[in-house]
Amino acid sequence: MYAQTWKGRFRTVHPAALVLYGLIAWFIAAFLIYPNLNIYYQIFFKDGVFSLEAVEKLLSSGRAMRSLYNSFLLAVSLVVTVNAVGITLVLFTEYFAIKGAKLLRFGYYTTLIYSGVVLVSGYKFVYGENGFVTKLLAGWFPKMDTSWFHGYGAVLFVMTFACTSNHVLFLGNAMRKIDYQTIEAARNMGASTFYIFRRVVLPVLKPTLFALTILIFLTGLAATSAPLILGGVEFQTITPMILTFSKSMTSRDLAALLALILGLATLILLTVMIRLERGGHFMSVSKVKSELVKQRIASRLGNAVAHTLAYGLFLIYMIPVVLIVVFSFTDAHSIATATLRPGSFTLDNYALVFSSMTAFKPYLVSIAYAAAASVAVVALALAASRILHKYKNKWATALEYALLIPWMLPATLIAIGLIVTFNEPRAILGNLVLTGTVWMLLIGYVIVHIPFTLRMVKASFFSLDPNLEDAARSLGARTFYTFRKVLLPIILPSTMAVLALNFNNTLADYDLTVFLYHPLYQPLGIVIKNSTDAQALADTRALTLVYSVILMVMSAITLYFVYGKSRKG
């Protein structure tokens, strides 16, 4: 309907659709734009007058400045270590012929089902003062300091192995897409295995590596659970510092300023990433692509070193997972002392989780939040994608940009924005105060999941054959009927997959939860983190191990249904 006027278009819109558009506009204004603008006001205006007091406070706070330095140090270090480990993993599973690659892949993929606060608490359980591995090492080296696992080194170690998921997924995928004929062509011209890797394979992977590097940097910068649990007093980074400052009314402006700095760094780096994404992809010109054949390492020594390294890494990935599963079936004494005896195995921990309401409550809270947030965000993304699919004008573009705002902002900044904005009555919310209510966390979860969900659902919409809608209209179907009966059933499987992934990611979230949760309704992430505190009871730790195992199982099932099944199909 190219020649239709604006007035004409407006008249053809269903009243219910207008209400929906209004609701989306309100949501964007109230939760995506207003809090993020208000944060500037809170930092730079005191009693309505422009002030740089927060900046002065920051510059004069040794702790805050130290945390900034630590965050950048961690981010830079992670870029080196995660890329080194991540590339190595992909080479061992996808490029070089390493014996038992399938088993190795299984180990390297564990971070997909075991991440965030669950992973950090798991590593602390294994390598901490009373950890199994620490005790084992102390047996061999009696003079060893058993409280060795904290500070910069511990945080870097844990985060290095926690952040390789994107490498195994995306770099692995990019590696599999390499056209083997280009490798054969290079070999035909006399190039060696490593020369081919350096000059033919690596350049093709460069755009993916750049994007991953930026993501690693951002992850390091916004690290929450690892420095909080393992950093100790000597290595605190921005986010834990923001958390500390946000708890006091007098230092909330400082928390907001730190969050803003984090946000600015994120914005700059994501802009760089978008540029790289636009310009850096290599299009294969092969008419018929051939599948990558794994390369044999010709040198015997090189082959032995590669195999040793591959299995060494496998052990690092597998040890915490195996020990968490094993110890989840032991009694509190075994868990507290990190010892395994034949008589210590029991199912009591599992029985307790499923029989005691107190023990089960964190699950219930997390499941309720995760379900509500994932359904809400999918509904919002469906409505928005439909608008973006249907209308191609400046309003649609503005809608898309507005909904992608959270992608550019770290969760911490979003949380602080919500806290400082909705801790007093606001007209846009009908003078309701949200801070301290159960709704805060739900809204936070919805906001942080919008960009990913929108991108995925929008992609499903845009892959629809436009003729389907025309066909339905020519058969007399109205817009909503066409959406319900023709379009929705087609995009439903992929939408459900996005919903499942969101559910999964929300279930044990810590980074956002820690800012917004209601003290009476503690979700799993908070409970798991609390169990890593020195004063936590052995029973609580036992429950945490069960929580972790069940979370791993749930994640594995979700990922199987989302990725495994479709790959097989």
Binding site: L468, A471, L475, G476, A477
Partner: protein, 335 residues
């Protein structure tokens, strides 16, 4: 039956259709033919109601339907890729329009089964997923889905373009049979001249948004009115001015205007008739097609001529061999 009156369609500053005046008669198999981007699909979509014209009007049985909503035009549409709903089975696809129009269950069942029978869809195929059907069966479902609502016009937008050559020929035949069976006015859009020539009662040839010629396939082929139509339809020889100047052609053919003759009108055997002329040339290329061979000759007077010769079992002409070619001046088209 359908009249396009001064129809114009603009997309911003781009004029997709320029002042179209055309009448299509009831029961006709009418084809819009032209290269990509000539405006043929745009006209079809404006007839169906998907595109609002920028000017002019569209009349259906003398009723102005220019601004009538899509669902009230009574036009059944078959899309290029059929646009069958992938989450519905064959039955549900065909029944879709009737369900939208709130027809009763029994009526829907009767009509769906009836139309399925008419388009030669088996009973057991009705409950299959559309993805389980062959290309031909999918086409029949798309046609059944359009016809079940008893439209007055069937509009087909390049329905054979995504199929392989053999299937295209087979489905073309089926399509023609169905149209004759239902007697419905059919508008067919294609860029394939062979499809247009074999299927249509009449053809409209478009170029850059302009209507070049309307006529029967024979008129379009043998008496092309414009140089574009002449070149677009079939393989053709351009007779170069030096060829005209250096032969008896100059007595009948104006060397100042472009002259064309179809390949099959050039013969390597003497032709009877007073207007026959002969020209000398050398065979420079031969392509064997099974039933016939195509020869390219470099003419002594200058230029090239193509001709086709039925395979009769005799020894073919060899490359480098001198030969005479014959043509009638009456077969030459000048623009």
């Amino acid at each position: 039956m359908i009249t396009f009156r001064d129809l114009q369609i603009h997309f911003d500053s781009f004029h997709a259709v320029k002042d179209l005046n055309l009448r299509i008669e009831e029961g006709e198999f009418f084809t819009f033919l032209g290269p990509s981007g000539c405006g043929k699909t745009t006209i079809l979509r404006s007839l169906a109601g998907f595109i609002a014209p920028s000017g002019g009007s569209i009349l259906l049985k003398n009723r102005d339907i220019t601004h009538v909503p899509i669902e009230h035009r009574g036009i059944g549409m078959v899309f290029q890729n059929y646009a069958l709903f992938p989450t519905m089975n064959v039955y549900e696809n065909i029944a879709f329009g009737m369900r939208v129009n709130k027809a009763g269950k029994a009526e829907i069942d009767r009509e769906v089964r009836d139309i399925a029978r008419k388009v030669d869809l088996q009973e057991e195929q009705l409950f299959k997923k559309v993805s389980e059907l062959s290309g031909g069966q999918q086409q029949r479902v798309a046609i059944a889905r359009a016809l079940v609502l008893k439209p007055s016009i069937l509009a087909l937008d390049e329905p054979l373009s995504n199929l392989d050559a053999k299937l295209r020929v087979q489905l073309r035949h089926e399509l023609k049979q169905l149209q004759q069976q239902f007697g419905i006015t059919t508008i067919y859009v294609t860029h394939d001249q062979e499809e247009a020539l074999t299927l249509s009662n009449r053809i409209a040839v478009f170029n850059s948004g302009n209507l070049e010629q309307v006529g029967t396939p024979q008129e379009i082929y043998n008496h092309s009115r414009t140089e574009f139509v002449c070149n677009f339809i079939g393989d053709i020889n351009r007779i170069e001015p030096e060829m005209i100047a250096g032969s008896r052609l100059r007595e009948k053919v104006d060397p100042g205007r472009a002259a064309y003759i179809r390949n099959e009108k050039v013969s390597m055997h003497p032709l009877p008739g007073v207007d026959a002329v002969q020209l000398r040339g050398t065979v420079i290329e031969r392509e064997f097609y099974g039933l016939y061979s195509k020869y390219v000759l470099r003419m002594a007077a200058g230029g090239l001529l193509k001709t086709i010769e039925q395979e009769s079992g005799q020894a073919p002409r060899r490359v480098g061999e001198e030969a005479w070619v014959y043509m009638r001046t009456g077969d030459i088209m000048q623009f």
